[in-house]
């Protein structure tokens, strides 16, 4: 009689379904997972330590690189924490712009998630559709900030600049004639808001298209239904937030429960799941995209009617206008101080959290009154969700591990920091 032993499998760190650099040591009994031990930190860059050596404003671009699928939401949490310590008011138009871009970011994140999750589980087409729509939204990122991913658009005190009046257009080239590019440029002939309005009009129909591909798909359901069920009690005990918590049936959304910026002025609903399995989390995220689209439309309408400043006029925090700087001594001094020493944030500590596409993304700042943070702690939702991997994967098949990683929506930029 041969001796039977559990089989240990090294999953990753270079596995296409590992969503980055996740190394997981899986102990298998046949094909059943007995223990999952994620090894993280392969992408650790010590962002928090680096922030201690950078001025307050220099840390903003580091935030983009945490969860590199939802860039502006990360900046948002950081800016809100700094603003809370500084006690500066953000102009209402900037608040609307932030809410609008938070929702654009949510759609961006969920589109990538549904694409990659589909790819992992075997629905190859999804990723192509998702990236088609992402293209429009990263163009919106580019229009406001000049960068398609790492925007650094939110700043303490507001946003970097107002929305542009025109969109970049496709140019005629050797390969594409003027007649061929004309349909591409139709939506781009107006301002950024016109472009986004066109997108918001199209998007619900596209979402229906995705759902026809997946929601009732037999294979999709076989792979997702009843995989990794998390009860509400366990979800709280494991510190879940965002779609992971809502998938387990707890109606908790910071945008509703602890509204920040202008979320109390826009209308939207929070979808929740019933059984808490991977399929419910999928449905929750799909519905969230619809709700985000609703918020997006409301923001566009408001922004069209209400021009105004987008940056605080407190020049101890926000740089002064270039023109004023060139003719005015006071402004010149402020500019010089801000660009060399940077702003000083009063002594104290603050924790600010946003409803990030993946869950609660929090920034905890301790300031001792210097021009740099004393300690910055990033509370990444994916870190907490991944720590529940062992509990979620135990007793499931090896192939389900891939589903679970996909359904947790992990990104290593934020987990390893």
């Amino acid at each position: 009689m041969p001796e039977l032993r559990n089989f240990t499998l090294n999953f990753g760190p270079q596995h296409p379904a590992a969503h980055g650099v996740l190394r997981m040591v899986l102990e298998l009994d046949g094909e059943v997972v007995m223990r999952a031990d994620p090894h993280i930190g392969l992408l650790h860059r010590a962002t928090e330590k680096l922030a201690e050596t950078k001025t307050w404003i220099q840390t903003v671009p580091y935030m983009d690189r945490l969860d590199y699928m939802s860039m502006m939401c990360n900046e948002h949490a950081y800016c809100m924490a700094v603003e809370r310590l500084l006690q500066v008011e953000v102009p209402i138009r900037a608040q609307y712009i932030r809410v609008m871009f938070d929702e654009i970011t949510r759609i961006l994140n969920h589109l990538l998630w549904v694409g990659c999750h589909g790819l992992d589980v075997g629905a190859m087409t999804m990723v192509l559709y998702a990236f088609r729509e992402r293209e429009d939204l990263v163009d919106a990122y580019e229009a406001v900030s000049g960068a398609r991913m790492h925007a650094a658009y939110y700043r303490p005190g507001g946003v970097y600049r107002d929305l542009p009046d025109r969109m970049s257009q496709y140019q005629e080239s050797k390969w594409k004639s003027a007649a061929q590019i004309k349909p591409f440029n139709e939506a781009r002939s107006g301002s950024l808001l016109d472009f986004l309005d066109d997108f918001a009009g199209r998007f619900p129909k596209l979402l229906d298209e995705y759902e026809t591909l997946l929601t009732d798909n037999r294979i999709w359901k076989q792979r997702l239904v009843d995989v990794a069920i998390v009860t509400p009690e366990r979800a709280l005990q494991r510190g879940f937030t965002g779609p992971m918590l809502r998938g387990s049936g707890i109606a908790w959304d910071l945008r509703k429960k602890q509204p920040y910026e202008v979320y109390d002025r826009v209308e939207f609903d929070i979808p929740i799941g019933k059984t808490g399995d991977s399929y419910d989390r999928y449905l929750v995220r799909m519905e969230e995209m619809r709700q985000s689209n609703r918020i997006l439309k409301q923001c566009i309408d408001w922004l069209r009617q209400n021009p105004g400043p987008v940056m605080s006029d407190n020049h101890k925090v926000a740089p002064p206008d270039r023109e004023a700087m060139k003719s005015n001594m006071e402004e010149l001094i402020h500019h010089f101080k801000l660009c060399t020493e940077g702003m000083h944030v009063p002594e104290g500590e603050a924790y600010s959290a946003v409803e990030h596409p993946k869950g609660e993304f929090g920034i905890y700042i301790i300031s001792d009154g210097a021009n740099k943070p004393y300690r910055l702690k990033i509370r990444a939702p994916g870190y907490v969700h991944l720590s529940a991997m062992d509990e979620m994967a135990r007793g499931h098949m090896l192939a389900d591990v891939v589903t679970i990683i996909g359904s947790q929506d992990v990104v290593f930029g934020e987990i390893d920091r």
């Binding site: 930190g41 809370r84 510190g239 429960k257 104290g348 905890y364 001792d368 004393y374 720590s387």
Partner: protein, 201 residues
Amino acid sequence: MSAKLEALSQNLQQCLGDRVKSLKLAFGEVTLEVEAADYFSVMLSLRDEPDLAFEELIDLCGVDYSTYGNEPREGRRFAAVSHLLSVAKNWRLRVRCFAPDDDFPSLPSVTSIWNSVNWFEREAFDLFGIVFPGHDDLRRILTDYGFIGHPFRKDFPISGYVEMRYDPEQQRVIYQPVTIEPREITPRIVREATYGNAENA
């Protein structure tokens, strides 16, 4: 909102009694400080008292206070700061607890109260060297396998001590002392409280 924070502060005083070392309200957030000896029992009350009902631990992080305010530190150096959330009551709380011994910082683990703290305590151990007795799997988590030191301590240089490169002669990856010089472009400045006031000019 402030009425809610008042209620929370009152409930905290009532439920915890003299285990509260200090209770502060700033920027719309409540900060509770406790002694290490009371830490575990306070955390348990925070979760189980129906008037507090912190069923979720959002975050726990280590802090090294040794160079706070650019001045030599009096008092203890390492603290663990946790952020708690009550879904039922919709309020938050920050709990700070200083580790009694600077040379061997140690605090009881709260993994049995909230399972979510597991990786956060591993992280605090990895980056700050705070030990959590009662944690059943206190391994390093973010740094490399076989890493030496606790990189987020204030006396650990930003460039680290070792760097890694491929050595063509030995045909393997080797560690060597760092060859880069750390530089500081913008110095860290803490202004006195009255700096920039017109009356002092």
